[in-house]
């Protein structure tokens, strides 16, 4: 060995160092991947059961008397623990759609109560031994079935767990994000274009730029306070509304959009601008037709990621009252509304088992939307990025 022409004494040690570093780096990667998998799997295991809901077949007696006192429609002694109060409450509404139900006394599929639902899903429940026997008996007669939980995607929050849904907060998020997008994207992109392409490079613009970066690092709850102080107290924007929530989130995503758009503009080679100037084009022509098209994929990606971040934001919305009990699906920008993460937050504080699974299901829906938004961002960036 020692006589080998290519022998270097410490080579083995140098190689060992490299190996050790690689091992540490790999285990760090493994650790983070495991953590992610654990988190997602936990959410999935807890949440997937919320996408189905138990229905049971019980005799329902509908007549003029029970329409007014709907809890009388079923055999109270036998079934009141098993049938959802919300379903009984809805009998008059269902009767409007199905007038033929009047003066009938027959077996119908009705929404089961949360306790029965949890028993069927073999989760913790408060059923007594007797009640369990009854449900088991009904099950053997095939009077119990699990269906896709349409209510979860059709209703707002409810104090009756089996009747509570995610839709009000999905719509709330959509309305809020429309406001955020309409405000933050144009203002952010135009600010970035001005700062990067037109503004002179002096002390003043340098200070603005430094503070722009600082702004991106400000705790989001402070933006909520600002929204509360300025938008609600000063301008009188209705509190809890998608309008005020969207404006607050726009404040928060502005610096992110500006910083990422500026980076996208900076990445456009200056030779493109030089070429334009040398042809006697004005700055605006060059910016509009050559620089912005090249920077657009980057600006788009930055904006989508900023909006996705805003979509998952809860803290600033606490301050403007969007953590609220919203049973109805909103349709305007000024009505009270809630958003997905706020709904998750509300449910997470509830003791019933049915809310726990809804919390996890809500997280799955939110994560799904965020991941697809990011996928769209990556797709757009790859599709429109040009080489030069």
């Amino acid at each position: 060995m020692k006589n080998d022409y290519f022998y270097i004494p410490q080579l083995a040690r140098r190689k060992r160092q490299e190996k050790r570093f690689k091992l540490i780096a790999k285990s760090a990667l493994l650790f983070s991947v495991l953590f992610l998998i654990f988190f997602l799997a936990d959410m999935f295991i807890k949440g997937y059961s919320a996408f189905s809901q138990t229905y049971i077949k019980v005799p329902v007696n509908i007549n003029t008397k029970t329409v007014e006192m709907s809890h009388m429609a079923i055999d109270r002694k036998k079934y009141s623990f098993a049938v959802s109060r919300a379903w009984l409450r809805d009998i008059p509404k269902m009767l409007e759609q199905n007038p033929s139900w009047m003066n009938t006394d027959e077996e119908r599929w009705v929404l089961a109560s949360a306790n029965v639902d949890q028993y069927i899903k073999s989760n913790h429940n408060k059923l007594t031994q007797e009640q369990i026997q009854l449900i088991d008996h009904m099950k053997s007669e095939q009077k119990v079935e699990k269906r896709f939980n349409k209510l979860f995607f059709a209703k707002g929050d409810s104090k009756i767990p089996e009747y509570s849904g995610f839709m009000a907060s999905i719509i709330g998020t959509v309305l809020t994000m429309i406001v955020t997008m309409l405000l933050a994207v144009p203002i952010g992109v135009m600010t970035a274009v001005y700062l990067e392409e037109f503004a002179p490079d002096n002390k003043f613009t340098q200070i603005i730029e430094v503070n722009m970066n600082n702004l991106a690092a400000i705790p989001s709850i402070l933006f909520g306070l600002l929204g509360l102080a300025v938008f609600i107290n000063l301008f009188g924007v209705p509190r809890s509304s998608p309008l005020v929530g969207g404006m607050t989130l726009a404040l928060m995503s502005l610096p992110v959009i500006i910083v990422s758009s500026k980076a996208a503009l900076k990445a456009v080679p200056s030779s493109i601008r030089q070429a334009g100037f040398a042809l006697g084009l004005t700055k605006w022509q060059i910016t509009r037709d050559h620089v912005i098209p090249l920077a657009a994929p980057g600006m788009l990606t930055g904006s989508i990621i900023a909006l996705a971040q805003a979509m998952g934001e809860t803290a600033p919305l606490i301050m403007v009252g969007m953590i609220a009990f919203i049973p109805d699906i909103g349709s305007s920008f000024t009505e009270a509304a809630t958003v997905m993460p706020a709904q998750i937050f509300t449910w997470a504080g509830m003791p019933e088992r049915a809310y726990i699974e809804r919390t996890a299901a809500g997280i799955l829906v939110l994560l799904g939307i965020l991941l697809s938004l990011n996928a769209v961002a990556i797709y757009l960036r790859n599709k429109y990025s040009k080489s030069w």
């Binding site: 002179p200 490079d201 080679p269 030779s271 493109i272 030089q274 070429a275 334009g276 100037f277 040398a278 042809l279 006697g280 084009l281 004005t282 022509q285 037709d289 050559h290 090249l294 040009k386 080489s387 030069w388």
Partner: protein, 253 residues
């Protein structure tokens, strides 16, 4: 009869506090190729960029003196730098086509200057510019392909076509062949010799052979000063200044 197209009078330029051009007075003849030579940092590129006011884009520069093109001082307050650059085109060291189609590369600026309308007239203008740049035969079937897919030499000729499509009178070239191989360089040199019938060409080059091959007059710069300006054969064969001779024979630079 030699006509002076571009003239500078005691041109001085400061980058911040640093004096980069120290009183350059130079007359450049119409329809000739003038080569600006000199060691790196001597101010020849800076001088070139004064002639189409590209230096205006840099913050913190100050210019004194006059640049007279066609009898007008281009730094006069009533003259807009955009209109100067329409008359004085420029080709850069690195080919920098727009990441657009070959057609759009050439057609964009004339359309913006309202020289033609979209359609037949524009097609003809693109064809003429590409023919003048000696690129037409190679790209006539791929006009919709991106200009950035061409080879380096083709890209540079595309940039020349793009510059002459605006119909300037003076073309500035800042080391146009330094990023190209010898074959492409030769093609572009031949092209320049052809183009000087129509345009006044000013070229910055580090390549002495190139300067002696193509230029009619040459100007030697050193440390921001114009040392010598004369016919090319004079500069290369019997320079008047000792410094010029030293530079040309490779004793420094």
């Amino acid at each position: 009869m030699l006509n002076i197209k571009v003239k500078t009078e005691n041109l001085k330029l400061w980058y911040g506090k640093k004096l980069a051009l120290d009183g350059v007075s130079l007359g450049i003849y119409e329809n000739k190729i003038t080569a600006l030579i000199g060691p790196s940092g001597c101010g020849k590129s800076t001088y070139l960029r004064c002639l189409n006011r590209m230096n205006d884009l840099i913050d913190g520069i100050r210019i004194e003196g006059k640049v007279i093109i066609n009898g007008r001082d281009i730094y006069a307050p009533e003259v807009d730098e955009v209109s100067v650059r329409k008359k004085v085109g420029m080709v850069f060291q690195q080919p920098n086509p727009f990441p657009k189609s070959i057609y759009d590369n050439v057609a964009y600026a004339p359309l913006m200057h309202d020289m033609v309308k979209k359609g037949k007239a524009c097609d003809l203008l693109v064809e003429k510019a590409l023919k003048d740049a000696g690129l037409w035969d190679e790209v006539k079937d791929i006009l919709n392909k991106s200009g950035t897919n061409l080879s380096g030499g083709q890209q540079q000729r595309l940039c020349i076509a793009r510059a002459i499509a605006v119909e300037p009178e003076v073309i500035l070239m800042d080391e146009p062949t330094s990023a190209l191989d010898p074959i492409s360089t030769q093609v572009i040199e031949n092209l320049m010799t052809r183009l000087k019938e129509k345009y006044t060409i000013i070229i910055v080059t580090h390549n002495m052979q190139q300067a002696s091959r193509i230029s009619d007059t040459a100007a030697f710069f050193h440390l921001g000063k114009l040392i010598e300006h004369n016919k090319t054969e004079k500069i290369f064969l019997e320079p008047e200044e000792e410094m010029t001779e030293q530079y040309i024979t490779g004793k420094f630079g």
